[in-house]
């Protein structure tokens, strides 16, 4: 067997107390496309960042062409021939393609001036070789994501990259663009470049790779030639963990329909989204990152406009609504990014918890501290929030911050509560408290829509599970039908029938 172009042996990496990688080994060979798969949070991105020189591994060795190396910066990685292409390229949109490729290392003429002619010639040559009809003088401003990736690839080629890592390069591409990218990948492969392809799309992985590695929870759980894998096997490896955590969704009486959406469409983001959520019900919206789940929630809440479709709360139709109108109609939204969207970090817990109900804490147009305190303490007590409510929220832990966000929305007494990744980055104890609270709220008759990438959480908490894949609903599963496999099949865009016969999973209702 040939020497690997790059070889990682027993890589460990922790961030704080979270162990992200626990002894990962991976070899990339010249002239081979190696696909890396795994659920969100399996550690793929961290591994990519280590190879890019953005993170240092805590432990483990790292060889390029048989030589031990240590990357302390991205430029060191590039110098030995390792280049990374990210999902969203980082380019200078105001400058030309050629300038982007050669920034900070432009060729010079004898007089020390930048040799634009040489620069353009070199980039034109690469564009030609890749069969792409762009001109080196064209500005990056206005290029599609696919074309921007081509610019990044050419940048890598001018570094004479021997290893090219692509982190979900197809996530934002159309079918045509994916085809072109794969032609480029194929050409690079035949030139002896070692490629690492990170993707969630099974069909793509099987179409272009020679080798597949699956990661789960920071470890490699399977690796081998692509011909040895089946789709079912990959999915089973990706999700196969025990359901050890306890998810206490108690039984609640399912009542009237609270939210009904019909044919929601937002061009380029999602379409054909129809579903309903009833009183006392927890409906999970599952899917991979980027499937459009958060975007659907934002549209329902009135943050982003809809191109077409109907949102109905009870009997009321919301059209062209603002978040304020959504709140009045009885929707509460707990966003995913607490720090950016959910909380004012410098303000106290009390202030944060009553931001949504300022009108109710007013007296004569001024905020009444006593009322603020009453409302804030009612909800924070119920959530068993630690810390004093007159402390700023930035001193609280992630779990407690999440509780403050929940308290803030519960104070509006919503009919429908939308929670986006309610337990991401939250410790286990706080996690079960959040779960208990959601369950309790459902029991009291609230309708809950929960977006989550945590499959055990989805299966444990939800009465019904809607699965999204690339902007469309691909499955609706009853609690009894849902397994990690069925959800994963729908989330990766596999047809339900395949999941049914081959993975022996109970088929859900086909959407």
């Amino acid at each position: 067997m040939t020497t690997p172009a790059i070889e990682l042996v027993d890589i460990h990496k922790s961030f704080g107390s979270t162990r992200v990688l626990e002894g990962v080994s991976l070899s990339l060979f010249p002239g081979e496309v190696h696909s890396l798969m795994g659920e969100n949070g399996a550690g793929k991105s961290t591994l990519v960042k280590i190879m890019a020189g953005l993170h240092l591994p805590d432990k483990g060795s790292f060889r390029v062409n048989g030589r031990e190396v240590l990357f302390r910066s991205t430029s060191q990685a590039q110098q030995v021939g390792v280049s990374v292409i990210y999902q969203e390229p980082a380019l200078f949109r105001d400058l030309s393609i050629a300038e982007n490729v050669f920034m900070h290392r432009q060729p010079k003429t004898a007089y020390g001036w930048i040799d634009y002619a040489e620069m353009n010639r070199s980039v034109a040559k690469h564009l030609n070789q890749l069969g792409v009809s762009l001109r080196p003088e064209d500005p990056v401003l206005g290029l599609s994501i696919a074309d921007q990736q081509i610019v990044e690839i050419i940048k890598a080629l001018t570094f004479e990259a021997k290893v090219l890592i692509m982190d979900e390069p197809t996530a934002a591409l159309s079918l045509e663009e994916v085809k072109r990218l794969f032609q480029v990948v194929e050409r690079l492969r035949s030139q002896g470049v070692a490629l690492l392809f990170v993707s969630h799309r099974l069909e793509e992985v099987f179409a272009i790779s020679q080798r597949i590695t699956v990661m789960r929870d920071g470890r490699v759980v399977g690796s081998g030639a692509a011909t040895e894998w089946t789709t079912e096997e990959v999915i089973r490896k990706m999700v196969g963990r025990s359901l050890d955590a306890l998810y206490p969704k108690g039984s609640a009486e399912i009542g009237k329909v609270v939210l009904r959406v019909r044919e929601l469409r937002r061009a380029g983001v999602f379409k054909d989204i129809s579903f309903e959520v009833r009183q006392g019900e927890i409906v999970a919206l599952a899917g991979l990152v980027g499937a459009g789940r958060t975007e659907v929630a934002r549209a329902i809440f009135g943050i982003d406009p809809l191109d077409s479709g109907e949102v109905r709360i009870g009997e009321m139709v919301l059209a062209n609504h603002t978040p304020e109108m959504a709140m009045k109609a009885g929707i509460g939204l707990v966003p995913e990014d607490r720090q950016q969207q959910g909380l004012v970090m410098e303000m106290t817990t009390m202030r944060n918890a009553t931001l949504t109900v300022l009108r109710r804490v007013q007296r004569f147009g001024l905020v009444s501290r006593r009322k603020e305190w009453e409302i804030a303490s009612r909800w924070t007590k119920r959530m068993q929030l630690k810390g004093h409510i007159e402390e700023p929220v930035n001193v609280l832990s992630g779990g407690n911050q999440q509780k403050v966000v929940l308290a803030k929305w519960l104070a509006t007494r919503p009919k429908l509560l939308i929670v986006d990744e309610p337990t991401r980055g939250v410790d286990v104890g706080a996690k079960s408290e959040v779960h208990r609270t959601l369950s309790q709220l459902a029991k009291e008759g609230m309708a809950v829509m929960m977006i989550s990438s945590d499959l055990p959480e989805v299966i444990g908490m939800a009465d019904r599970i809607l699965v999204m894949h690339e902007g469309k609903l691909t499955a609706e599963l009853a609690r009894s039908d849902a397994t990690e496999e069925t959800i994963m099949f729908a989330a990766t865009g596999q047809t339900e029938s395949k999941a049914g016969d081959k993975a022996n999973a109970a088929p859900g209702k086909q959407k």
Partner: protein
């Protein structure tokens, strides 16, 4: 820079696109149209004397615009230049007063050195102290001016104390163009080449266009930003010395308020306030346009208080046009995205 212009119209040739294909070309057209119109209404507008006045009036602003362009290209801003001009103008004057016979060049070098030192204060606070440029230079604008007032203490340097050979820079001409203007034109050429033909120049654009990507490309962003503020300080120091040559009489108020004209000119000249786009030639044409515009208003006997209002209107017009074009562009790129 031409490829910036080409950029915006890559696959669209509406008239708006054509108009902005080159900001420089449209500025030249505007300046010519304005001059021609005014000259028809008042033929004295193009008399040699008034042309010379026009060139002298625009020169110091145009000089400061060079430094400001480098700064704004990096998404930064330097408000403190007017105070640096004030200090270095009076410094140059007192050098002549206290050291009769001191060579002109030495005075200029000392003024430039002082500008460099004051620019270094900005550079250190912004690049390493991580205080936003807007706040830092607003602070130093007041600090430097305050120090100027304290030091000058009501004194004044008069033209009689300044050697005639020095004042000649602000009065005599060569080939019909004032020496002062020649200095600006030479520096304009150097800056233009520097920003176009050298790596450092392109890196200024890169930093303003996408600071994160600039770091990934291996550019030392802190050092470049610091360099920008040093350049701006040096230019302001030189402008201070030339201020003395042009006006002869200097007190503590020299240059007050000029920073706003400089920034307006730079932005009207097509240097995007969000960084990454623009040229020094465009910025200097922006200064010329505003200057011609002010003269026009004078010649047409428009009350002087209207001048500022017109200047402000042009600034907003320029920014609105840039924003409109960027918005249209964003819409087009979004359409390309949609394929789900």
């Amino acid at each position: 820079m031409t490829d910036q212009g080409k950029s915006i119209v890559a696959n669209n040739n509406l008239w708006v696109g054509t108009l902005v294909r080159s900001r420089e070309a449209s500025l030249v057209l505007l300046i010519l149209a304005l001059t021609a119109t005014t000259n028809i209404l008042n033929p004295r507008f193009l008399s040699p004397q008034s042309l010379k006045d026009l060139m002298l009036n625009v020169s110091i602003i145009a000089l400061l615009v060079l430094g400001q362009t480098v700064i704004i290209l990096m998404r930064q801003i330097d408000l403190s230049i007017s105070s640096i001009v004030g200090i270095t103008a009076f410094l140059s004057g007192t050098l002549f007063v206290n050291h009769p016979g001191i060579p002109n060049l030495v005075v200029v070098l000392i003024a430039v050195g002082a500008g460099l030192a004051l620019g270094a204060v900005n550079a250190a606070l912004i690049a390493w102290g991580k205080i936003p440029a807007l706040i830092t230079t607003l602070g130093t604008l007041y600090i430097f001016r305050g120090a100027d007032y304290a030091w000058v203490h009501g004194r004044q340097v008069n033209a009689v104390n300044v050697p005639g050979s020095f004042l000649a820079v602000g009065t005599s001409t060569c080939l019909g163009i004032p020496l002062l203007t020649w200095i600006v034109l030479i520096l304009l050429a150097l800056f233009s080449i520097g920003l176009r033909q050298y790596r450092t120049g392109r890196e200024f654009y890169a930093i303003g266009s996408n600071p994160g990507a600039a770091v990934l490309a291996g550019i030392n962003v802190n050092r470049r930003v610091a360099t920008g503020f040093l350049i701006s300080g040096v230019i302001a120091g030189l402008a201070g010395a030339l201020w003395l040559a042009r006006f002869g009489t200097v007190d503590a108020t020299a240059g007050e308020g000029i920073e706003l004209s400089v920034i307006t000119s730079t932005v009207v000249g097509g240097v995007a306030i969000t960084g990454g786009v623009g040229t020094v030639v465009g910025a200097v044409l922006g200064a010329l346009l505003l200057s011609v515009f002010s003269s026009t208003l004078v010649f047409l006997r428009v009350p002087s208080f209207w001048q500022q209002a017109f200047q402000g209107a042009m600034l907003l017009l320029a920014i609105a046009m840039d924003a409109y074009l960027a918005h249209r562009h964003a819409l087009r790129s979004r359409v390309k995205w949609s394929h789900v």
